[in-house]
Symmetry: C2
Subunit: 338 residues, 2 copies
Amino acid sequence: MRGAVIHGPGDIRFETVADAKIVKPTDAVIRTAATCVCGSDLWPYRGAEPTGRAHPMGHEYVGFVEEVGAEVTAVRPGQFVVGSFATSDNTCANCRNGFPSNCLDREFMSTCQAEYVRIPHAQGTLVATDDVPDEDLWPGLLAVSDVMGTGWWAADAAEVRPGSTAVVVGDGAVGLCAVIAAREAGAERIIAMSRHEPRQRLALAFGATDIVTERGEEGVARIKDMTGGIGADCVLECVGTAQSVQQALHSARPGGNVGLAGVPHEVAVDGQELFFSHVGVRGGPAPVRRYLPDLIQRVLDGRIDPGRVFDLALPLDQVAEGYRAMDERRAVKTLLIP
Amino acid sequence: MRGAVIHGPGDIRFETVADAKIVKPTDAVIRTAATCVCGSDLWPYRGAEPTGRAHPMGHEYVGFVEEVGAEVTAVRPGQFVVGSFATSDNTCANCRNGFPSNCLDREFMSTCQAEYVRIPHAQGTLVATDDVPDEDLWPGLLAVSDVMGTGWWAADAAEVRPGSTAVVVGDGAVGLCAVIAAREAGAERIIAMSRHEPRQRLALAFGATDIVTERGEEGVARIKDMTGGIGADCVLECVGTAQSVQQALHSARPGGNVGLAGVPHEVAVDGQELFFSHVGVRGGPAPVRRYLPDLIQRVLDGRIDPGRVFDLALPLDQVAEGYRAMDERRAVKTLLIP
């Protein structure tokens, strides 16, 4: 079979790789219906994370079950399935506590930009739809496997409630999905921080009530102006740089909450500053598996349409161009169809 | 009048100071019924914080209203009152959001180890009891003005719920009061980290179910052992050093919460480590004013007895000895009676 392999910064190749197959009785193999390129894939692509030796890429997927291991009874061949970028047994203490992305059996998916994918812990990881969904719903369901689930988590971790004022830092796919999540959670005011006109338009379409183009402490000052001088109830951090995390922490009001959805890179939080701010912080890899049944239903019902974050669709074998387009900010997110 | 003044590390003197008087129409002056020495007073006493030029000390107080400014109608001369170490107008946005210790008019009290005390923003800061309480309840009511309120906040910020497993890091007066708070919040298991026998005894009397004597990563390993390998639901951090904050963060389970009640000194939290832990963190100066009516009632009803943290009582004019005893760990907390 063929799949995407990173050979070094800027060097993605679609080439022959080892066939996906059942290794353990808890595995499944799926035939990929759709996959995509994640903002986090750009970290190694840009050399901001070491790539080490050549390895496959991709952690977002929807597909058809091809084969299951002996212990997998929850899904069967032929079914259309959605899974999380983090596998989970869905039975351990962390899963039961609502944090399947911290499952004691967790593996991070990393071979999904390929024709077939081996899914470890398939029993706890995959959710099958009742029927095969219309093809035009596949992008939305694919988004649920990561960016929509992560945006949902940003709103959950930031404790968005009906009536909240929410600020979304970051206008990438996760940030845009976080706008959807804040709207679904009932936020009264949703301020999207964005200086890119097409992304601003999508944020507004998804439910943002205000756009702020300033960044850093200027952005914070604008948020303070808009919130009676005290800051926002909820801040959804969807970037992960030192500047964006700082901006998020400073934008929340005393007693407000920051949800960290972007993986922090070279971020250190000053203890005394955090303390005197009275701001609550929680982050982590999104517990997508917990949200899957609900989010899948919202997509199938047409209540949310996170598939709109894909503004470029390519055949899977053009995956390298998909990375390039996102790296050069010509695309928010690239959909890949085998 | 006379009061305690710090002249430098280790140098507390009880001497003549300017009389407390009404400066603004929002002030009150109280005659001190009881005051005390706080663990945080030891930071400058030990030279761990610069003292600058000589200045008065003390931020905990109960007393009798002596005089009120023209705008103060909530309390009247003769009443017995309890207040917070942080003043609050009780009307601003932060107060309304439940964070009076981040009041837009906040002043930190700092002249309370004295015969009389000026209370700014008295209208929002002071709570009067219906009658003058029995003298044996004064220590408990005094504790409410800071250490009991701060322990309560530790449990609140760590989101202790009925059935929670709670770990209390720190066996000073705040940590001991945090045990009371965790018990009142319905924690099923309360693990007090302490290696001092008299403090262990008091922790057990206050409701601790387990004592752990190990510290640092050894302490974390013990907590993991006791919690099925994943960590505690709630961790109440009542110290504020780099080691204790680290220990607290590592002791919480994924999805658990750490409440920071100790003012952090030279603490930096690694963003990526916090992120992958899935632990929620909130800290700050305790919003004591929010808790006062409830906590005063619990003390008056005899439901809680935080006054037991005072294991040394001295006349106010022996305040220097009160500091020395705490510095040398001969006392948990020194009560001072004018």
